[in-house]
């Protein structure tokens, strides 16, 4: 049983890749809830959809690699611009002209590329825990990124599990570790269980392809500075995936508003949904339609 069921479910095909989408609610205005790292699929918006769809039309879709969408292993299908093109395709299939987009983590990057490539389709952006390289990672994280493709040590621990060979050897253990870092608030057993379950719907082949994608040609700072629509950044002060300073920087570059979630981790839309939902709604109301 879900709190809200889609009005429309459909599949759109772009260059041979099928993407599964859902439309909830019937409002005049539309919110597009974007995919994030494809380790999870569109159900990660489960705490947003029932509330927001009481006020707006809400579109969600699974990015390539998870949920109801094809498990592509071509890195070119995972570029930020490819994600942006997928979003355009979904909106066209739904006959929707303009949206406010909401992107979590990497999804903030998809939102930015969508607004850069199709500025007339986006009236506003909400970035939740934006995970873009705007400020340096912690030295510990940086060191593990360097060893991503190296053999992992026998006593691999912590961020050492962020390693391609380890993903193939014990994918579920990596996903559990990762989501324990995402949900560092107390009493997060249910969100962790949900996320590990969604992660089990895909696997290391897909994540390897996504990790191998080329970066966008336009530097992130320039892309964010060039955005012309209003931006709201929501960022947790205890985010262990993408440091809070990145949210501060994203808000500064976009001349956006920063909403600081004191004590929150990387995914406040799940662990503190009421405040996030109210903030999204206030933002949508403040943005000209």
């Amino acid at each position: 049983m879900r709190a809200a069921y889609p009005e429309v479910e459909g599949v759109v095909e772009r260059d041979g890749v099928k993407l599964s989408y859902q439309v909830f609610g019937r409002g005049d205005r539309t919110i597009l809830l974007l995919p994030t790292w494809t380790i999870i699929h569109s159900r990660f918006w489960k705490m947003q959809v029932p509330y927001l769809s009481r006020h707006y039309r809400v579109v969600t879709y699974d990015g390539p690699g998870n949920g109801g969408s094809d498990r592509v292993t071509d890195p070119d299908r995972y570029t930020f611009d490819a994600y942006a093109q997928d979003a355009v395709e979904v909106l066209d299939a739904c006959g929707i002209e303009r949206v406010v987009t909401v992107g979590l983590s990497l999804g903030a990057g998809y939102a930015a590329r969508l607004a850069r490539n199709a500025p007339d389709r986006v009236t506003g952006i909400v970035m939740v825990g934006p995970s873009l390289p705007l400020t340096p990672s912690s030295p510990e994280r940086e060191a593990t990124f360097q060893k991503f493709t190296a053999p992992y040590p026998e006593d691999v621990d912590g961020w050492g599990k962020y390693n391609l060979a380890y993903w193939y050897d014990d994918y579920q253990d990596f996903t559990r570790f990762f989501f324990e870092q995402c949900f560092n608030e107390p009493h997060s057993t249910k969100p962790i269980e949900d996320a590990v379950g969604w992660a089990a719907d895909t696997g290391p082949e897909v994540l390897e392809a996504e990790a191998s994608r080329p970066e966008p040609s336009e530097p992130w700072t320039e892309a964010l500075e060039s955005l012309s629509c209003p931006v709201l950044v929501i960022h947790g002060t205890r985010d262990q995936i993408s440091p809070y300073e990145r949210g501060v920087e994203a808000a500064r570059l976009t001349r956006g508003t920063l909403m600081t979630m004191t004590g929150s981790g990387h995914i406040p839309n799940t662990r503190d949904p009421v405040r996030v939902n109210l903030a999204i709604r206030r933002f949508v109301e403040s943005v000209a339609s």
Binding site: P186, H187, T189, K190
Partner: protein, 295 residues
């Protein structure tokens, strides 16, 4: 920060014991939320208060031995009579002429006695996981532990911790075992932390005293059934079907004997009010609306 704050908060001194109460003003009827034992206090109802207080006048209090009430020691100060007198005094001092009692576990025994002695004041009963003796199927884990209540056991474990010496000397062990056993629902870490925290605001001595006092001068099975049969008030019973503190058949029998309404919560344990508050709250609200609000 709480979801709602009381309009009045005060304490009564009743025969030398402080009893702390809170009032959330609203249109009647009044719901008096009765905590079940010094193992917890009024915060056990934290998921009910904000919702119910939007619809009705709600009065809560901390039972003797925990919360902001006094910490009297001794079996004789924790009897059913003392607890019934406390709740009646709270009604009196809050200017509550009549109230629907909302009771959890053992508090239902007190509520039953209050309703039977004061039919003019107690106009209804919401019995959540009612702990009324003799009703329902026997519960061997309680009986076996109770049989060794006074013995000094070598290294008691599990239900054996339900023992005067173990509760006094290994209070936290008993509390943690007990609430872990009650919280059968997955993802109960917050409810567990809350429940253990509230329990540890009291002492093992007080809890052991209250457990012993509860059984003092207990009526016989026939007397209990006669008291229940004599009730002439609307009754709603809410009971989790995986409750290991009070077997669900207790709730079923109470509903059958009173002709009351039974809401059985599939998959819930003893703390459905904490783990599944929405259906519990809706059932209480609907019941009170039907009986006292609709023309």
């Amino acid at each position: 920060m709480r979801a709602t704050t009381p309009t009045k908060t005060a304490s009564i001194d009743r025969a030398g014991v402080r009893i702390h109460y809170e009032v959330y003003d609203n249109e009647g009827p009044t719901l008096l939320l009765v905590p079940p034992s010094p193992i917890t206090h009024s915060r056990i109802y934290k998921a009910q208060i904000p919702y119910l207080a939007r619809h009705f006048r709600v009065v809560t209090f901390d039972g003797r031995g925990n919360g902001r009430s006094g910490r009297p020691e001794g079996i004789e100060v924790h009897t059913r009579d003392e607890n019934v007198a406390d709740l009646m005094t709270v009604l009196e001092r809050t200017g509550t002429e009549e109230a629907v009692l909302v009771a959890h576990c053992h508090a239902n025994w007190w509520a039953l006695e209050a309703a039977s002695r004061h039919p003019d004041r107690v106009i209804g009963l919401v019995a959540i996981e009612p702990g009324i003796p003799y009703l329902g199927e026997p519960q061997p884990h309680w009986r076996e532990a109770g049989a060794a209540w006074d013995q000094i056991l070598e290294s008691p474990d599990g239900w054996q911790l339900f023992n005067r010496h173990a509760i006094e000397n290994r209070h936290r062990d008993w509390i943690e075992f007990f609430f872990e056993a009650q919280l059968v629902e997955p993802h109960s870490s917050k409810a567990f932390e809350d429940a253990v925290g509230w329990a540890m605001e009291s002492t093992g001595r007080i809890l052991a005293d209250s457990e012993e006092a509860q059984e003092m001068g207990a009526p016989t099975a026939d007397e209990i059934r006669a008291i229940i049969a004599g009730l002439d008030i609307p009754v709603l019973v809410i009971h989790g079907d995986r409750d290991v503190c009070q077997h669900v058949t207790k709730g079923r029998e109470l509903a059958a004997l009173t002709g009351g309404q039974l809401v059985e919560m599939a998959g819930s344990g003893h703390l459905a009010l904490a783990r599944d508050p929405v259906p519990v709250n809706l059932a209480i609200k609907d019941f009170v609306y039907q009986k006292w609000r609709l023309p």
